[in-house]
């Protein structure tokens, strides 16, 4: 990072299946007001607003973000990078502030998929209409391909997927904003309906609505507040074609090469050399528990071949970072906002204001974003120490 920036405000609506009593504008403003209040700023104090909205098709309104603009003058830009929309929007806000063109940027993302008759029908249009339309490729089977590949290559079992999911649900019990508040046993998870082998229903994310906002400020504004300093951010995009990635050397479908590249760049900026011991909290954008396992080696937390053992040690090894104190996407997945929620939750942890889900002594936290066919990856490192 060439400039010192920090997150000084966070606002979130509750996440749930549908906010039937609120318009998109209502949700955007609810999150934005809370973030601005948290930052001690007014909307007139921000110099740019970056809005994050992924597929319009889910909401039945085109460009819903524009409906929240009420006055004249503040620049508004919309980012849409699929699953990483929220983190891409945050990075855009960071660039405006780091460039000196803004003292503070409001970043706000909203998801309205509860308005959709069938979200999968909208999601399925992400795939190639010629080559893939007759192939039962969905966002779920896409994840199942990777899960089964991980089992074959590295020895994961259904137990590992269930153990990760169980921890996420348990953590969400302490997060009042989470969509799902229910604890499951490993057996209940493994016996839940099969969506696409080897993925069971309780290893997958729900469909959630809600909005999330953060205020990113320059050093002058941040220094007098309670900041989560941005120590490193990076974003990388891969090829779309999954077939090209099945056997790519060192960068197969389950190696998440773009997440690894983003982590390496963000670590370099943040001065992280031993992520396993230098990061206290990690919020992962992994909508399936099997997808979470693929992030561990990409983030440099273990070797790919040691992944199953890494999962086995979770909950027992106090040296490990704490994963998803919010519950992660399995406890709430407002797609357009989810990657921003990860950043917002890590900011709350670093600032020590995460409520019941606050972890002790958090000095550095990491948030990931994943989108497309694990094609887009972002990494954001926040910390208490000014870079």
């Amino acid at each position: 990072m060439s400039a010192r920036l920090a997150i000084i405000g966070v606002g979130q609506t509750p996440y749930k299946r549908a906010h039937r009593d609120k318009s998109s504008s209502d949700l955007l403003w609810e999150a934005a007001r809370e973030a601005l209040d948290d930052a001690g700023l007014d909307i007139t104090d921000v110099d740019v607003v970056i809005q994050g909205v992924a597929p319009d098709a889910l909401s039945g309104e085109n460009a819903v973000e524009k409906s929240a603009i009420t006055g004249v003058g503040i620049p508004h830009m919309r980012v849409n990078t699929g699953g990483v929309t929220g983190s891409s929007a945050a990075f855009a806000g960071a660039s405006y502030v780091a460039s000196g063109r803004a003292r503070a940027a409001l970043v706000v993302a909203v998801e309205r998929m509860g308005q959709s008759v069938t979200s999968q029908a909208a999601f399925n249009t992400i795939f190639d209409p010629i080559l893939e339309k007759d192939f039962p490729l969905t966002t779920i089977t896409m994840a199942a391909l990777r899960a089964s590949m991980s089992m074959r290559l590295y020895g994961y079992t259904p137990y590992h997927w269930a153990k990760i999911a169980q921890r996420n649900y348990r953590n969400a019990l302490k997060n009042p904003l989470a969509h799902l508040h229910k604890e499951y046993t490993i057996e209940e998870i493994m016996n839940s309906p099969l969506l696409a082998w080897p993925i069971h229903k309780f290893e997958a994310c729900p469909m959630s609505e809600g909005a999330c906002a953060v205020v990113i400020a320059n050093e002058d504004l941040a220094a007098a507040r309670n900041p989560a300093w941005i120590q490193g951010i990076a974003s990388t995009t891969d090829s779309y074609a999954m077939g090209d990635r099945f056997r790519r050397e060192g960068a197969t479908l389950v190696d998440l090469v773009t997440l690894r590249m983003s982590a390496e760049r963000a670590y370099l900026d943040a001065g992280v050399t031993d992520p396993l011991h230098e990061i206290d909290v990690i919020e992962l954008y992994s909508p399936f528990s099997s997808a979470e396992a693929m992030t561990y080696p990409a983030l440099g937390l273990c070797e790919a071949s040691e992944g199953p053992a890494f999962v086995d040690r979770q909950g027992e090894d106090p040296e490990m970072p704490f994963f998803n104190p919010s519950g992660g996407p399995q406890a709430g997945n407002p797609v357009s906002a989810t990657a921003l929620v990860r950043i917002a939750e890590t900011a709350l942890q670093v600032r020590g204001v995460a409520g019941e889900r606050q972890r002790p002594d958090v000095r550095r936290a990491l948030a990931t974003g994943q989108g497309g066919a694990t094609q887009f990856s972002t990494v954001c490192v926040l910390g208490t120490q000014r870079p």
Binding site: S2, A3, S25, V48, A54, P55, D56, A57, L58, G60, E61, N62, A63, K66, S67, A68, I69, T70, G71, V72, G73, I74, P75, H76, M77, R78, V79, N80, T81, G82, S88, F91, A92, A94, S95, Y96, A98, S99, G100, R101, A122, F123, N124, T125, I126, D128, A234, S235, T236, T237, D238, S239, Y240, V257, T258, M261, G371, G372, A373, Q375
Partner: protein, 354 residues
């Protein structure tokens, strides 16, 4: 602040080219821009896109299109807003030191798109849509408001000049295209000519013959009833910010490439940003030498590619390589780009011959 320059540009305006799919159009255009910059992909460290799912017909269009635009294993992001806005955002990345050389690309393929349906669904489902609002209708409302107050004696001349400029532009759409039905009081010759457009720019911190001198952005409220359709404060605001950023004034700009939906919007925008007195916008666009020599939306139109299209036209003028529409002695240009809903958000860029 870091100085930013334009290294390479490319613009393709076609209609229903059955030999090339959308990714082919994008790849060919980006490749041309990178070649024009004299670079190879190893020298590019990021890609900033302007594309809209509802124009491209997919729920995440950049999954397929980003790699075609050169984003393979690179830092990439996409704005679902006009491409001049994406250009402005790319400026901040360079100024922040996050990147050193960036591709900015935008596109829209109108031949596979339903502009009327897309536009109608931009409006509020309870209050806007039932009365038939779409973006062209808002242009009609703006024109009606203007006609209540001013005389349109120069209108025919303005329409004819716009057509002549588009016809002379070597990059304009030659065959095909689509025209919508003109809502009162918009006239047929003032309509945008929908086309398949792909446009790309390579920008960097290395000095070239065209420097990015200033940038400004602004926005208007969503509700049409809350807007001043004639004064267009967000457009004026964005332009004033860009000119101030460049340390210049509108009087010192030799070329304006302005993004507007219709010919009437061209004239009224010219009034809003101070190029012409109120009531004289049509006369201005009928006669002014440095206004939209490209022909504006008559040369080809499809969001969100338009702001960057205007910027490429201005770059070629500053380079002296605009072909048959080249103006003499252009040293400074003002470019604008606007986004949904009905030009609600605006970006203005000032370019200078370095």
């Amino acid at each position: 602040m870091t100085d930013i320059y334009i290294e390479g540009v490319s613009l393709s305006i076609t209609w229903a080219d059955a030999r090339r799919n959308l990714t082919d159009l994008i790849f060919d255009t980006v490749r041309d821009a990178v070649d024009d910059a004299g670079q190879d992909m190893a020298a590019i460290d990021s890609v900033v896109l302007a594309a809209h799912d509802l124009v491209d017909g997919r729920s995440l269009s950049s999954m397929v299109t980003a790699p075609a635009a050169g984003a393979y294993l690179k830092d990439e992001t996409r704005y679902a807003d006009d491409s001049a806005g994406a250009f402005a955002a790319a400026m901040t990345r360079l100024e922040a030191g996050h990147n050193r050389r960036t591709i900015v690309a935008g596109w829209g393929r109108a031949s596979e798109h339903d502009p009327d349906g897309f536009s109608h669904a931009l409006f509020d489902p309870f209050f806007g849509r039932p009365v038939g609002l779409d973006e062209l209708a808002v242009s009609g409302l703006r024109a009606q408001r203007w006609l209540q107050q001013y005389d349109d004696a120069d209108r025919t001349q303005a329409i004819e000049r716009r057509a002549r400029q588009a016809a002379a532009n070597p990059r304009a759409l030659r065959d095909g295209g689509m025209l919508q039905s003109a809502p009162y009081p918009i006239q047929h010759g003032e309509l945008p000519r929908w086309a398949d457009i792909a446009v790309a720019v390579v920008m960097s911190c290395e000095p070239t013959s065209v420097k990015v001198a200033g940038m400004g952005q602004s926005s208007d409220p969503y509700q049409i009833g809350d807007r001043d359709l004639l004064a267009m404060p967000a457009l004026r605001n964005a332009v004033e910010r860009a000119l101030a950023d460049a340390g210049t004034s509108v009087a010192d700009v030799g070329l304006v490439e302005l993004d507007a939906l219709t010919g009437v919007d061209d004239a009224l925008s010219a009034e809003a940003i101070g190029l012409a007195p109120h009531g004289e916008g049509l006369g201005y666009v009928a006669r002014a030498g440095g206004f939209n020599p490209s022909g504006g939306s008559a040369a080809g139109y499809c969001p969100p590619a338009m702001g960057l299209t205007r910027l490429v036209e201005a770059t070629l003028q500053l380079r002296g390589t605009a072909g048959a529409i080249q103006l003499p002695e252009v040293r400074r240009a003002l470019v604008t780009g606007s986004s949904v809903v009905a030009a609600q958000t605006h970006t203005a860029i000032v370019l200078e011959a370095a």
